[in-house]
């Protein structure tokens, strides 16, 4: 009998504790949290401002957000960030924890006036680094990932360093772009694999690369006249 009473007491304590912890966590208010990232790169969105239920929050380097103390109900969740399309969604917030992941679509690269391309001849091929320049001629550092199209033509460089001409065409076509989140300026990068360059490569041979970048803001051209046609050590 005594043992049975003990068991009942222990079970009661467990139930009370479970109920108490559940209640403490949920409360009468709701929490909304989730991811807020660039739709293409999944990078943090610089200065993204979110509004919900008369509250707002701004994120700079974080990929997550959190609203607390929201009264359960229906709301319009709005997110705006410089150079991104605004995001708006009708949501129903329930008591406790709610999750909403937001993928912001990039709109434009701010004050884009031109591109500067650098090349690096690596083991896999010629890597291109695309930097965006603004009206002051300075590099643009904070911009969304946009769908861009890169085309290039690579020629053998003939003549001296000062006085040269385009020789045989080694490559012509589109170059696949990839995103480098860790880069400060050249987040857009591309690579021309060695196997696509139809020439037996020799040390000390240089090429001229004409690049055309198609963006929603227009086409931009640049030429690199010292492309090493051999992998650098």
């Amino acid at each position: 009998m005594k043992r049975a009473i003990l068991y009942v007491i222990v079970v009661l304590i467990v139930v009370v504790a479970l109920v108490a912890t559940f209640n403490l966590r949920s409360g009468k208010y709701a929490t909304l949290k989730g991811k807020i990232v660039d739709a293409l790169s999944e990078d943090p969105v610089w200065k993204v401002n979110m509004v919900l239920d008369g509250k707002s929050t701004t994120r700079y380097l974080s990929k997550t957000y959190r609203f607390t103390g929201i009264k359960p109900g229906s709301y319009t969740f709005k997110a705006t960030a410089p150079n991104y399309y605004s995001f708006s969604k009708e949501i129903k917030v329930k008591k406790g924890e709610n999750i909403l992941d937001v993928f912001m679509k990039g709109e434009k690269i701010p004050d884009l006036q031109g591109i500067i391309v650098f090349t690096e001849s690596q083991e896999k091929g010629i890597q291109l680094e695309i930097r965006f320049a603004d009206s002051k001629g300075e590099g643009i550092t904070k911009f969304p990932r946009l769908s861009l199209n890169l085309e290039g033509k690579l020629y053998l460089k003939l003549g001296s360093e000062e006085d040269y001409t385009r020789g045989k065409e080694l490559f012509s076509g589109s170059i696949e772009l990839f995103w480098d989140s860790g880069a400060f300026l050249a987040k857009n990068k591309g690579i021309i694999p060695w196997e696509k360059i139809g020439e037996h490569l020799e040390i000390e041979k240089y090429g001229i690369l004409d690049v055309l970048l198609r963006t929603p803001q227009g086409d931009f051209k640049d030429t690199v006249d010292d492309v090493k046609l051999y992998p650098e050590e």
């Binding site: 068991y7 222990v10 467990v14 504790a17 912890t21 200065k47 509004v51 008369g54 509250k55 707002s56 929050t57 701004t58 994120r59 700079y60 380097l61 974080s62 959190r66 609203f67 607390t68």
Partner: protein, 444 residues
């Protein structure tokens, strides 16, 4: 039996679950809205930051304190067990109006104001003042002008020193020539005609920080709430904090900071008049008397750094201003044994492999390029003094004693220390005796 074991197993697993859920998870690096504080602490202004983990900000009543919200990266620093702000990685201003509420009602809406800190005795001095609006710019401009003037004087000093060295070489050459020619001089004659070395200019004695924009808060004692309303009318998430505005319980006390001569960096304090100052053997003590106010320990600790611990039921004395125009008396009963004046001292590290330092009286003439390490009332305690019956007190310039300045001094000496060694060995001796006795008993 098996059922019981299963039951208790489940019960302990449940306890473990409860324990893990209650444990605080320290984030490695998180983006947070924090408050950057520049608070009046009873004697001047001190900076601190309030991370999200702290729900309450503490201010002293009826004094201006500056506060602003910033977004930064916060990380946990296990060495100090405190959250730190990575200002260099991210430091973005939170724009809006600061709202102050009392019992849920809005009582003030504040816009940011220009402010700067003015240190009349220099950055390391004991006084700092918060200058607001026009004053912030005026004092900063004054400091900039004084600094530019100093750089100008420094440039002139370097030129004058080059000139002096040139003249000195010419002078020595001339003396040499005249000596070789058989001319004789007295040292007074030489001293008269020797070129005078230029003195380096002194830098600005005061310092002013560059003006910045903060919310300046001045409130009476009470409990409040603060939050920031953005320009679009929304309340900024995580900007809500409790604000406790407090004041001192008692003011005008006298406390001492004591610098032991044999370990000068280990300063001690004797703030309560009932406390006794114990000095070990022959020693030199440097006393620094202060006026002091008594504050709630928790409130004041949190004012200095919102992450500091403290107990709400305890009180602490806080040194406010140094007491300078007095004479420290060392007394035995009514008899004055020493009268000590406040002097500046300089701590000089002993060069070479020998560790240690010497504390010497600072001489401005002999040490023009040095600054005194500290100021204080030096009291030399001889080993021949008796153990008890001594006091220190502060005598005012106009006569009479300074209120609350009396402290009892006792001297601790190593006496009959050998007896202590004998006492400590005693249990060991007993142990050995028992061990030997038992061994003998067990022996066949």
């Amino acid at each position: 039996m098996r059922k019981i074991m299963v039951f208790w197993g489940v019960f302990f697993c449940f306890l473990l679950y409860l324990q893990t859920t209650s444990m605080a998870q320290a984030p490695m690096m998180s983006e947070q809205l924090v408050y950057s504080l520049n608070v009046y602490n009873g004697k001047g202004y001190g900076g601190a930051f309030n991370p999200q983990t702290e729900n309450t900000i503490y201010f002293i009543a009826n004094k201006d304190s500056a506060i602003s919200a910033r977004t930064t990266l916060v990380y946990f620093w296990p060495i100090t067990a405190k959250f730190m702000a990575g200002w260099q990685t991210l430091n973005e201003e939170v724009v809006g109006t600061l709202e102050i509420l009392k019992e849920g009602k809005l009582i003030k809406s504040l816009k940011k104001q220009d402010n700067s800190l003015y240190y009349p005795e220099g950055y390391w001095g004991e006084i700092s003042l918060l200058c607001i609006d026009e004053d912030a710019h005026t004092y900063y401009e004054k400091y900039k002008e004084a600094t530019e003037e100093y750089y100008q004087k420094i440039s002139e000093f370097y030129k004058a020193r080059i000139e002096y060295r040139k003249k000195m070489d010419e002078f020595l050459e001339e003396i040499k020539k005249r000596r070789e020619a058989g001319e004789e001089f007295t040292s007074e004659e030489i001293e008269k005609s020797i070129p005078k070395e230029p003195k380096p200019p002194e830098g600005p004695k005061f310092y002013t920080t560059e003006p910045r924009k903060d919310y300046v808060i001045d409130l009476p004692v009470g409990s409040y709430q603060i939050r920031i309303r953005a320009e679009d009318g929304t309340i900024i998430q995580d900007s809500q904090k409790n604000l406790v505005v407090f004041t001192s319980r008692r003011t005008g006390g006298t406390g001492y900071e004591i610098i032991p001569g044999n370990r000068w960096t280990m300063k001690e304090s004797c703030d309560d008049p009932a406390r006794i100052i114990y000095a070990a053997g022959k020693n030199t003590l440097y006393f620094n008397p202060f006026t002091q106010d008594e504050y709630n320990e928790l409130y004041y600790n949190k004012l200095e750094d919102p992450q500091n611990p403290g107990r709400v039921e305890r009180w602490r004395w806080v040194h406010i201003t140094p007491i300078k125009d007095v004479t420290l008396l060392f007394l035995k009963g009514e008899e004055v044994l020493q009268r000590v004046k406040r002097l500046p001292y300089y701590v000089k590290q002993i060069p070479g492999p020998t560790l240690g330092y010497n504390i010497t009286e600072y001489d401005k003439e002999k040490q023009p390029y040095e600054r005194p390490t500290f100021e204080g009332y030096k009291l030399d305690l001889s080993s021949t003094l008796e153990r008890t019956g001594y006091q220190i007190n502060l005598e005012k310039k106009e006569g009479g004693f300074f209120k609350g300045g009396k402290r009892e001094v006792r001297l601790v000496r190593k006496e009959n220390s050998r007896l202590l060694y004998a006492l400590s060995i005693f249990p060991l001796v007993i142990g050995v005796v028992i061990f030997l006795k038992r061994r003998r008993r067990l022996a066949p």
